[in-house]
Symmetry: C2
């Protein structure tokens, strides 16, 4: 299975975290996710359509999500609310927008981010759409990226 389409999302994540969150993040080994299983507490999901269809999600433990958005907006965010969800959504939007440029063969259009809040919720893509999970580590905590893409 050629999953090279994941690389632009990984590179964009590293770059956007460096620039906007002032944090070096390190991608771990990508895994093929075969079934729904619990992710973290806050996820931002963006739909992808075009010559390929799919979705991309970034998922954070609550404490990491709060740190990420605090660093992004330059002020301490302590509670789960619109400020947090907007920040996490915007971050996913920027990462996806940048990655899209390196995936021009798919002519992707991207939806607005939907942010999910719920302790240990699970995300699931339809059968037949492979989901590649990429774990990230950083000094402010761990998070995960999930890319589900069905190329035509």
């Amino acid at each position: 299975m050629d999953v090279s389409y994941v690389n632009p999302f990984i590179i964009s994540t590293v770059n956007v975290f460096k620039k906007m969150i002032h944090t070096e993040v390190k991608p771990g080994t990508p895994l093929l996710k075969n079934q729904p299983y619990p992710t973290y507490d806050i996820s931002s999901v963006i739909g992808l359509s075009g010559e390929a269809t799919g979705s991309i999600a970034f998922s954070f433990p609550k404490v990491v999500g709060l740190k990420v958005v605090s660093e992004m907006v330059g002020e301490k965010i302590k509670t789960v609310g619109q400020e947090l969800t907007d920040g996490i959504g915007e971050l996913a939007n920027i990462i996806t927008g940048n990655a899209k440029k390196d995936l021009s063969e798919y002519k992707l259009s991207i939806s607005i981010p939907s942010v999910v809040i719920g302790k240990n919720h699970m995300l699931s893509a339809p059968k037949g759409t492979p989901t590649i999970l990429v774990p990230f580590t950083s000094s402010i905590g761990n998070f995960a990226m999930e890319v589900s893409l069905k190329t035509k």
Copy 2:
């Protein structure tokens, strides 16, 4: 605020439930959702892009989701797993695909469904993107539809 774009989604939901789930569902009064608050246990989220961008989500209590998919596939689904998430995702996909035909002015493309599982999770759209929540009642239980759409 003109929210007439919600009507094709309501009509499609009623029609698809009648045809595929053999159930009459009744839409309640649409509400403007101003902040994230808990929804149900299983949600299917589809991204929308084109001349408008947004997302549509269907959210079910666990017991209702299981009944809906059991009715849809014609066999009793008792556990939360890939069968359930695929069914809920496919249902959302069909409803959204049908609604799209009546919203041709937006030239919408739709992403694959992402299914979220998590007790009382919340869904949130970005600031500036109004979310219209439509509650539905039926003999097999209640569920909700959320349409977030930003017209250009």
